[in-house]
Symmetry: C2
Subunit: 186 residues, 2 copies
DNA sequence: TGTACATCAGTGAACGCGCGTTCACTGATGTAC
DNA sequence: TGTACATCAGTGAACGCGCGTTCACTGATGTAC
C-alpha cells in the first residue's frame, strides 16, 4: 500500500479522531495506546505521526469532539421535547441520567480527572473547559423556552447536581444514586 | 540495613499507605509508580512486595484511607459548627467547596473515573463504594441535627450538587463554577 | 541471662513488557511540461 | 492527453524508556534451649 489520496487521508484523520474519542471516553486517555487507536481506525501505528504531533494533540481533538457530539445530542433531545410541549432542560436531564454504553460516557465525567491535573495552558484542559461551557449553554438555552422557570434554584446548581448524580451512579455502580428513573431513551 | 522490628515494619507499612493515599489523590493511581511511593515513604521499591500483593492491593487500601480521612475531617467540621449553633451540613458544604492542596482533593472526584471503569468485584471499586456511603452518611448525620431541614430537596440531590460543583470547579479551573464563596478554612 | 540459629524486612539490581515515538522504505497520488 | 518525476500517506520494524514485578542477598530481629 502506497500513498492515499488527500481526500482519503482527510477521511482517515477524521476517523482516527472519532475512534479515539470513543476509546478515550470509555477507558480513559492513559489506558488507550496509539496502537489501539490506529488498529480501531483500520491502520497501523506508524502512520499516526503523519496526522498528529503527539498523543496529547490527538487527545485534545478527541476531547473536543466528544463534547461537540454530546452537545449535538442534547440539542436534538431539547428540540424533540420542545416540539412535544415538554421542557427541554428536563428532557436533557432525563436523557443525561439514562444508561449509555462506555463510549458514550459523559465527557465531563470521563475527562474531569485528567483536566483537573493538567495546567490551564494544556490543550486538553482548554478543550475540556470550552466543552463544559458549550454543554452548559446548551442546557441553559433549552430552559429559556421553558414557561415555568423554577425560581430560586440557580441554573448552575441544577447543572452541577445533574453531573454529580451521574458521577456517583457511574462510579458507585448502584442505581440508588440516580436522581430519577432512567428512561430507555438512547 | 537488615531486618526491621515488627513494630517498625508495621509503621513502615502504614506510612506507605498514607503516602500512597496522598499521591494517588493528587496525581491519580496510574500516574504514580511503586518507586515513587516507596521513595516518598523513605524506602526502596524492592521492599514493597513484603507488604502488598500488588499495586492494586495498595490502591484499594490507599483509597479507603483517603475516604476515612475525609470523613473524619467532615465530622470535625460538623461538630465545630454544631457547637457554634451553625448547621453541620452547610458547614461541610462550605468546607467542601474550599480550595485544598492536590493531596487533599476529594476522593470521590480523584477516584471516580478509576472506580467507574473497574468491575463491581474490584477491591478499589469496593473501597470507593463504601467510601461514598460513609461520606454521605456523615453528611446526613450532620443535617439531622439541623432545626431547619429544607423540605423538598432530597439529601442525595444536595450531596450530588455539592460533588458536581466541586468536580466542575477543579476540572474547569475557573471559580465561576463554585456554588458559593469559598471560605479560607482548611 | 547467654548463646546459636532461624526468620524475614529491606536493599539494589535485574527482568519482561508495553508504551510513545522514530525511521527507512513503498508505491499510489499529484504536478510540471 | 501523455510522460517523467517529486511528493507523501501509510507500513512495519525498531528505539528508549519507565513501569510492575521478581530475586539473590544482607544483617538485625526473634526464638529455642
Amino acid at each position: 500500500m502506497g500513498r492515499s489520496s488527500r481526500v482519503q487521508a482527510g477521511e482517515n484523520r477524521a476517523r482516527i479522531v472519532q475512534v479515539a474519542s470513543d476509546l478515550f471516553r470509555a477507558r480513559g486517555i492513559e489506558a488507550v495506546g496509539i496502537a489501539d487507536v490506529m488498529k480501531a481506525a483500520g491502520m497501523t501505528q506508524g502512520g499516526f505521526y503523519k496526522h498528529f504531533a503527539s498523543k496529547d494533540a490527538l487527545a485534545a481533538e478527541a476531547c473536543a469532539l466528544a463534547f461537540a457530539s454530546a452537545a449535538e445530542t442534547w440539542r436534538d433531545v431539547a428540540r424533540t421535547a420542545a416540539a412535544e410541549g415538554r421542557d427541554g432542560a428536563a428532557a436533557i436531564a432525563d436523557h443525561y441520567a439514562s444508561v449509555r454504553p462506555p463510549s458514550r460516557t459523559c465527557p465531563m465525567i470521563a475527562f474531569a480527572a485528567d483536566a483537573a491535573r493538567r495546567g490551564s495552558g494544556d490543550p486538553v484542559q482548554r478543550a475540556f473547559r470550552e466543552g463544559v461551557q458549550t454543554l452548559f449553554e446548551t442546557f441553559a438555552d433549552a430552559v429559556q423556552g421553558d414557561p415555568t422557570p423554577e425560581a430560586g434554584e440557580p441554573l448552575r446548581s441544577r447543572f452541577a447536581a445533574m453531573v454529580g448524580s451521574n458521577l456517583l451512579v457511574r462510579s458507585v455502580q448502584q442505581e440508588a444514586w440516580a436522581s430519577r428513573a432512567a428512561p430507555p431513551a438512547s
